[in-house]
């Protein structure tokens, strides 16, 4: 930027600023904390850079290296990681030379298994982006490897770190929804899900670059909408139900974005879960609950959300806000404390205050809101992971068993779409 001509005033400002810094260093306000955890990030595309940016604001972490075999992505990763981070196009060399304590894996799905195995073999604790693996078989092998080690492992399903979902889990567990009878979840968007290719179509490298950047659209590299989006919602369901599904029927296809992609641009699934009655219910017999899941790329109404329905109420969940709607006749439950006017109510659970809004929602009653407007669950999941690393606590908020169950849940849906038949959840992964 251009320098001003009024130097005298400017000098005055510089003196002030320098003075401020000198004071700061004397009072040791900016002293560097020792003993930071040495973190390396493999894969610095869009999601990888998100993780780099979040990690760089966490006091206990130091990003020592970033790696990506695609130069523009590596450059972006380096820009957000800071000068102290070394860059590598070959992650194996990075593991060997840097020996990071923690490796964050954000490569395309088809490479998760190999990169996670190499990172574990290097002795590092591993944070792997969702979905954990490209196939159930890879998931089984990775889970066995992690279980046989003393290494900390977490899968990046960040709703596990979100206070709204933790609150919802507690509400369901304590029977606030009554008997869970159904759930509907979705991630609907309206775009072509394409990344731009930086060269003209006539360029010799266009094909190769297009496949590399749009790996999400090709079956060899990707498991499509179910893995990239559906994994989040189906993890919520597995978590809230404390169960894996028993089977799934599903259909999907390339019906709108007919641009050469191989993965469906719309999917619809019906999962069946066998649940045990929550406490307070008279019958102890297991019962079946059906869950629908859909994902679209041409209509964004209601976006990403989950709706969990029970005999006494419904939970509408998103990452910033949760709403509890009571069923008619359920407003006499003991946990709602009404104020003098009889119109508002609030409760305190798990340290969070919930308040009824006054907005009338036709046919739904007044919702109780759970708010997380100021929260950042991606940062929170990393903070939690680093705590577990420091404490050598292997039971992370989304460990390898949860990751495997989640991968199997979404992969059987893709199998059902391909085979046009109902697919059972693998028996060995049910408990």
């Amino acid at each position: 930027m251009k320098l001003p001509h009024s130097l005298s005033t400017r000098r005055e400002f510089i003196v002030t600023a320098a003075g401020a810094l000198a004071t700061a260093s004397v009072s040791n306000v900016f002293a560097q904390g020792a003993g930071k955890i040495r973190v390396a990030v493999i894969g610095t595309g869009g999601r990888g850079c998100d993780l780099v940016r979040k990690l760089s604001t966490i006091e206990s972490a130091e990003i020592v290296a970033v790696s990506d075999d695609y130069e523009p992505h590596l450059r972006n990763g380096a820009r957000y990681a800071g000068k102290q981070a070394k860059t590598f196009s070959d992650y194996r060399k990075m593991l060997e030379q840097i020996k990071p304590a923690v490796v964050v894996v954000a490569v395309p799905l088809w490479l998760h298994y190999q990169v996670c195995c190499d990172a574990l073999d290097s002795g590092a604790d591993v944070f792997c982006e969702k979905t954990m693996t490209h196939s159930i078989e890879e998931g089984r092998k990775l889970a066995a490897k992690v279980r046989g080690s003393k290494q900390v492992f977490q899968v990046g399903l960040q709703r596990r770190a979100n206070p709204i979902y933790n609150q919802a889990r507690a509400m369901i567990e304590t029977g606030m929804l009554g008997r869970i009878t159904a759930a509907r979840c979705q991630w609907h968007r309206n775009n072509n899900w394409r990344r731009p290719v930086p060269v003209e179509r006539t360029h010799a490298k266009w094909n190769e670059l297009e496949k590399r950047l749009n790996w999400r659209l090709y079956r060899k590299f990707s498991q499509g909408l179910m893995a990239e989006l559906g994994s989040h919602q189906m993890d919520v369901i597995n978590w809230m139900f404390d169960a894996a599904p028993s089977r799934v029927m599903a259909t999907g296809g390339v019906d709108y974005w007919r641009d050469g992609r191989e993965v469906a641009d719309n999917v619809f699934c019906i999962y069946e879960y066998t649940l045990k009655p929550t406490h307070g219910e008279e019958s102890r017999d297991p019962y079946t609950v059906r869950v629908t899941y859909s994902s679209l790329c041409n209509n964004a109404y209601e976006g990403a959300s989950e709706l969990i329905m029970g005999t006494r109420g419904t939970l509408f969940l998103t990452d910033k806000k949760g709403l509890l709607f009571l069923e008619k006749g359920a407003d006499d439950v003991g946990w709602v404390k009404k104020d003098a006017s009889g119109t508002n109510a609030s409760i305190v659970t798990s340290g969070k205050t919930l308040g009824l809004t006054n907005d009338p929602w036709a046919f739904r009653g007044k919702p109780v809101e759970i708010d997380n407007e100021g929260g950042d669950d991606t940062r929170e999941e990393l903070v939690s992971f680093l705590h577990h690393v420091r404490d050598r606590d292997l039971q992370t908020i989304c460990d390898v068993n949860i990751g495997l169950r989640n991968a199997a849940t979404i992969l059987i849906a893709n199998e059902a779409i391909d085979a046009r038949k109902t697919v059972e959840f693998p028996r060995d992964l049910r408990s």
Binding site: M1, A24, V29, A81, V197
Partner: protein, 260 residues
């Protein structure tokens, strides 16, 4: 930023240009989530919440932004100040910020960061960098029509032509400006109560005026259009240069743009 962004992308490969446009708008949304003081989940909200209590660790990008803003504060003799606010007695001088450790601390508990006079321009610069990385050679981007950035020329290989409106009357174009690989920003007062504060009076600007700055980057243009409007027409002359052009509009006797 809470404003409307638009991108014009001429070319034949609609599929790829749409993907590039979506990626650029995602980038603008990302900057909004970083800099907005209205979104409680933004990085700036986290700083404003915590930095008066203990030092807050910034990410690398925000560290760079703060360095730029501190430099601009110095260069504009304090007329560009992201730490000034209407309610409280604080300015950039009340902020300890160390780029090496990436820590920020507010010595005045009332200090708050507000990137209102910077964010739009910065978002356009980031979106433009991303578009260039995607191979885009021609584009026009604007945020709320007050910040405009041009990549290359328009579809006819002519510089992008921008009309400067009468700040107080809709649909009256006072002058046209050509942009090509540069940016402009307009700051104006007088239509309603200004949201631009005089950093020394901590009051909305009173004089009815408008300042347009043409510079290499949109952030630079926005910084200077805000600062120059605050300091007034008479002081502007010492800040203009071949890289930074300023156009001033005063109301009386009738709205007219002069090149300073």
């Amino acid at each position: 930023m809470n404003t409307w962004f638009e991108i014009v992308l001429p070319g034949d490969d609609a599929e790829n240009l749409q993907a590039a446009g979506e990626a650029a708008l995602d980038e603008i949304e990302r900057i909004e989530k970083l800099l907005s003081r209205f979104d409680p989940a933004s990085e700036v909200s986290r700083i404003n919440r915590d930095a008066a209590i203990s030092p807050v660790l910034l990410d690398v990008e925000l560290t760079g932004i703060l360095e730029t803003c501190r430099k601009a504060w110095l260069e504009t003799d304090g007329f560009f100040d992201i730490a000034v606010n209407r309610e409280e007695d604080a300015n950039f001088g009340a902020i300890d910020f160390d780029p090496d450790t990436r820590l920020i601390f507010f010595r005045n508990v009332n200090a708050r960061l507000d990137f209102g006079g910077f964010g739009k321009g910065y978002a356009l610069d980031c979106a433009a960098r991303l578009l260039r990385e995607c191979g885009v050679k021609q584009a026009l981007l604007h945020g709320g029509t007050s910040s405009v950035l041009a990549i290359g020329n328009d579809a006819n290989e002519q510089p992008w032509r921008i009309g400067l409106r009468d700040p107080w009357k809709d649909d009256v174009v006072l002058q046209q400006v050509d942009l090509s690989d540069n940016a402009l920003s307009t700051s104006a007062t007088g239509k309603t109560v200004s949201d631009i504060l005089d950093p020394f009076q901590r009051q909305p600007l009173q004089e009815k005026a408008s300042c347009t700055v043409i510079a290499e980057s949109a952030a630079q243009a926005e910084v200077f259009s805000t600062a120059l409007l605050c300091m007034g027409k008479d002081k502007v002359a010492s800040f203009v240069s071949p890289e930074i052009k300023a156009l001033w509009t005063a109301e009386s006797p009738s709205p007219k743009i002069i090149l300073l």
